[in-house]
Symmetry: C2
Subunit: 335 residues, 2 copies
Amino acid sequence: MYGKATAITSPNIALIKYWGNRDERLMLPNNSSISMTLGDELTTKTKVIFDSKQDKDQFYINGKLQDLSDKETMERFAVINKIRSIAGTNAKVLISSENSFPTSAGLASSASGIAAMVLASTKALDLKLDSRELSIIAKVGSGSACRSLFGGFVKWERGQKADGTDSYARQIAGHEHWPELVDIVAVVSDSKKKVSSRAGMRQTVKSSLLYKARPEWAENMCVKLEDAILKKDFGTLAEITMKDSSNLHAVMLDTYPSLMYLNDTSKEIMYKIAELNESEGKPVAAYTFDAGANANIITRKGDADKVMEMLSQVASIKEIRKTGIGKGPRFIEES
Amino acid sequence: MYGKATAITSPNIALIKYWGNRDERLMLPNNSSISMTLGDELTTKTKVIFDSKQDKDQFYINGKLQDLSDKETMERFAVINKIRSIAGTNAKVLISSENSFPTSAGLASSASGIAAMVLASTKALDLKLDSRELSIIAKVGSGSACRSLFGGFVKWERGQKADGTDSYARQIAGHEHWPELVDIVAVVSDSKKKVSSRAGMRQTVKSSLLYKARPEWAENMCVKLEDAILKKDFGTLAEITMKDSSNLHAVMLDTYPSLMYLNDTSKEIMYKIAELNESEGKPVAAYTFDAGANANIITRKGDADKVMEMLSQVASIKEIRKTGIGKGPRFIEES
């Protein structure tokens, strides 16, 4: 048995974040999340070759062979085992994944990497799966990966069912719906996370009193944000995005022991964006922070220069990248 | 009419914090709070002279004449007007307040200052008020001031009544109950608060979704902490103290716009205390942060050297002060 395929995907930035599961084995979240898929400036290309003549699995990221006994690598690789079991094959696999952006860019490469791995693998094995089935597989590798299966604006539905069949990603609107939006990434810190997201969210769910109030609130915000996206209401999008980021970092801080990802530079960026919005008399930019100190700033093309100018005043920012909304995954032919 | 008195008080450090009112005019809090009054190393001495021959009020702090039209000064001074109205006098007052510690010490001097002002004023006017009545007056100046009316461990009861008559401070245990406890103050930043506590807590109550979960939790923690204090159970005291500090700073962060008081040095201290407790296999120290970046670290005398040693490794700490539990207010005779 032999099959190969290559998929290209992009990272996504969540405007309403995923943090905490109702079922960790099936990766069923406590609340829905909404993201924007980033543009072609930032891509992950993953080539997958299944070959029953090979005697072992091999997984390369940016040319570097990964240790398949490493815990985080195993979590990502779980999607391959899942796909092999669906296809009824035990052919070994050679995976080679390349990011067009340095991992120091402060963008989660795991979401785009796993999404590309799922798409290329299922194509290589000629599996006909719909996007719901693909989502369910992708999130086993990393929850946010299912949101990188689409371009534009994406909602990962929490779902209600115990078997998880109603918890999957779907597109709210394509990239062409709101082309004015841009994401500016301000790289603040490239230090490795002290606690992985998976372990961190487990701790939050277990120990944070305040977290109990988050899921229902986030669920309501998802409804409002989807509506704001469809109406292209930037003010509402900006306010919800900033509130959700702070809500997330608040429940992280309330975790015992505290999880603290924002640093003094992150705070300076938050204050500066608040000042900019104040001086403009309306929100023209919104910050959001994942489990890290790097800022993603959502704004519109007409205001991007103002934001870039403002960020240039923050001496401790290491790098700034601007990107638009992405079209989403595609396949390419490779020899 | 002429009357004078001098009172000496100490600041208090809250282990379960006050943040948010159910009635702002009467200063009735959404949750009870518990504090430790600090020792004689840190005192405020306030002399009050009522004299109907004088034609204006004068208020000095550390020798500096205060502007009575300044908003924060007016808030503090409100207790004088309240006391004059109880005494039925309109005699002008000369107040002179001195802190034995620099305001840069990172300790709220307003609590001890207002407590001393209330005690000296009511004595000067020969008013016979019980501690409940004194509390109710003091908290009009600053909520936490009522906790500096006593030594040792103090609980400010939330109360239930609309008129506030059941919201007052009472002593849980005197300073002699647990003399092993010490408070180590690590001064991190002497920059002025961007937002006053009174304005900040108003914003939190108004805008933070997560805050809704705080009052009931803090109320339960007060019951547990009072019990831990009576039993001298340090492990429980330490855990509740750290959790409440992070819970407070979490709801501050969840405020819109976000209130952020912890800085990178505060975080470094939190991590170091967590490491120390981890390496000791049990909590031997607990951090707590008011609305600022300075740390108060509660520990026992036998562990204080370890904590001091650990803090000496944090290069960005400006000053370290150690103090015990205070006996509480006293009056002195002055010419």
